[in-house]
Amino acid sequence: MDPNHLRNQILSIAGTVVLLALLYVANTQGSDYTIRILNNIAIFIILAVSYNLINGVTGQFSLAPNAFVAIGSYTSALLTLTPMEKEISFIIEPCIWPLSVITLPFIVSLVAAGVVAALLALLMGFPVFRTRGDYLAIVTLGFGEVVRVIANNTQSITNGPLGLKGIADFTNIWWAWGFAIITVFLIGRMIRSSYGMAMKAVKFDQAAAEAVGINTYWHKMLAFTTSAFFQGVGGGLLAHLITTISPVLFTFFLTFNLLIIIVAGGLGSTTGAIIAAILFTWGGEALRFVEEPMDLGFIDIPGIPGMRMVIFSVILVLIMIFARQGLMGTREFNWNWVCRKLGIGGRS
């Protein structure tokens, strides 16, 4: 047991309070644009931290987060849309019965989004975890695509390619950051628990983990479903932030963005995932200028849409070649380190 446990807990709580105070200031003083970016950051933190649990901590290279985000988005959106809105949206085929009449509160829809995503993960896990390594990557990628194809074709549930419109914009800074804080806290607890230890053991050496009596299959499942739950919730928040969803939103592209985040942050580090999620979201906005027309005085460069993704792809390849550890490696933020650096001695 860390002798500074109590101090560290107090510092964590204080840190959270400071964060909430800063958010309050941003929410009241900041422009719509700032608030929008803050909301995006919170949702990306939820998605990246939970994605990191299966990919980084447990070492199972899943490429299916887009499937869980999609399921979460659709579930929560279908549950909060009013029957009238559904009737307007579903013009080709009417919405099927129980969905067509129910409207539930936002929070219930978010939990439902997480639960449905977790159930899907459970079902997927049986075949998926019979494979390993790059085969697991391809199989999960396949599942991600299948979910998107299904979303495109089940007209009476998802409204097909038209997608869902007019979703209420319930997601605000408190919902988004509230869930981000809960996600980081719960997943952090899980990683530090004996379950987390077992997950790390699976990552480093599966055979050795089995030899010391760890049920590797069960721990992979646990990481996968937990991760899917939070990705589902994140999807629900996303749907109620952007208010219009359609299958094209949930292609492999989304997975790619999350992958860059957790790789840049360092596979296996929650702290890294958080920092990289902030940098990615903010950086994505800051880099917008490269896609805008530029007038350099002597030369006119027309806008180049897509340039940002070129930059991100190059960054990903460069990280893999030169800095495989990412920002944090597998290290985590901890108060002992901060206090030592600040010269505040604790008991050791």
Binding site: G59, F61, P127, R130, T131, R132, G133, D134, Y135, A137, I138, V139, L141, G142, F143, E145, V146, V149, I150, N152, N153, F252, F256, L259, V263, I304, P305, G306, M307, M309, V310, F312, S313, V314, L316, V317, M320, I321, R324
Partner: protein, 295 residues
């Protein structure tokens, strides 16, 4: 169901399947030799199409010259990709190599979007492939006949390279045991680059025929055929070139028959490949002809 209808669909399936097979060869060769799923392979195919397109349009080459130049350029791109991105991560964990491949794939797609623009471009099919033959009530567009023939020819050339040349022997050695091959004085990196070149050229050939089939090209066109070709490679047993071809044919026929026999399920066409992939990995992970166990 009428026999002619069935045969017609089978011919279509064989033509489509040959294309999957051609693209699958590149996957299977690279995987066989360095155990890397080259995610960017479908995008290499896309680049091949654009090379051919620009060859005809901008340099007004005759189509055959343009196709030949496109194959060479795509082979060069494959080598460049290997030297630039995959060589530096060759001794890294396999997942790092896979992430690099995903990065290269997105790089090619987005460079395509930036340089060529996102709007699809019409691909001009040479007149020779546009004719339609009619034999015993069956319609054969020339392209549908030429595709399997050309595919067989390319397959033959690649098999010759692998089983009848020194380079090919080195490839087979590396896939067996890279370290020992190095000790025998083989320039392993050169052989791997050649593998990338051959695989990329085959993908370009497949891509050009794909482009003539649909006749249009866009920077994201490689994604779906790329994934499906990978499935074909696994289906045939990854590392096995003839297997990749058979896997491609099987996948092409299955897909065409699904659409022909159950048109109401046509929307699920793209899911067929992945369904097949999951089934194979569950029940026969070595593939239909495979000798190597996937990890």
């Amino acid at each position: 169901m009428e026999l002619t209808f069935f045969l017609q669909q089978m011919i279509n399936g064989v033509a489509l399947g040959s294309l999957y097979g051609l693209i699958a060869i590149g996957y299977t060769m690279v995987y066989g030799i360095i155990r890397l799923i080259n995610f960017a392979h479908g995008d290499v195919m896309m680049m091949g199409c654009y090379f051919a397109y620009f060859g005809i349009l901008m340099f007004s080459l005759p189509w055959w010259a343009s196709f030949a130049v496109a194959l060479l350029l795509t082979a060069a791109l494959g080598v460049l990709m290997d030297k630039g991105a995959y060589l530096p991560v060759r001794n890294a964990p396999r997942i790092s190599a896979l992430i690099t491949a995903i990065g290269v794939s997105f790089l090619l797609e987005n460079l395509g979007l930036v340089v060529f623009g996102g709007r699809p471009k019409g691909f001009e099919t040479p007149d020779m492939f546009n004719e339609v033959y009619e034999v015993a009530g069956l319609m054969f567009p020339a392209l549908v006949l030429w595709t399997p023939l050309l595919t067989l020819a390319i397959l033959g050339i690649i098999l010759l390279i692998i089983y009848r040349t020194k380079t090919g022997r080195a490839m087979r050695c590396i896939s067996h045991d890279m370290e020992t091959t190095k000790l025998m004085g083989v320039d392993v990196n050169r052989i791997i680059s050649i593998t990338f070149a051959v695989g990329s050229a085959a993908a370009a050939a497949g891509g050009i025929m794909w482009a003539m089939r649909y006749p249009e090209i866009n920077p994201l066109m490689g994604i779906i055929p790329g994934f499906k070709a990978f499935v074909a490679a696994v289906l045939g047993g990854i590392g096995n070139i003839t297997g990749a071809m058979l896997g491609g044919l099987l996948l092409g026929i299955a897909e065409i028959l699904l659409v022909a026999l159950m048109p109401e399920l046509a929307g699920y066409r793209d899911a067929v490949a992945f369904g097949l992939l999951i089934l194979i990995l569950l029940f026969r992970p070595t593939g239909l002809m495979g000798t190597k166990l996937p990890d």
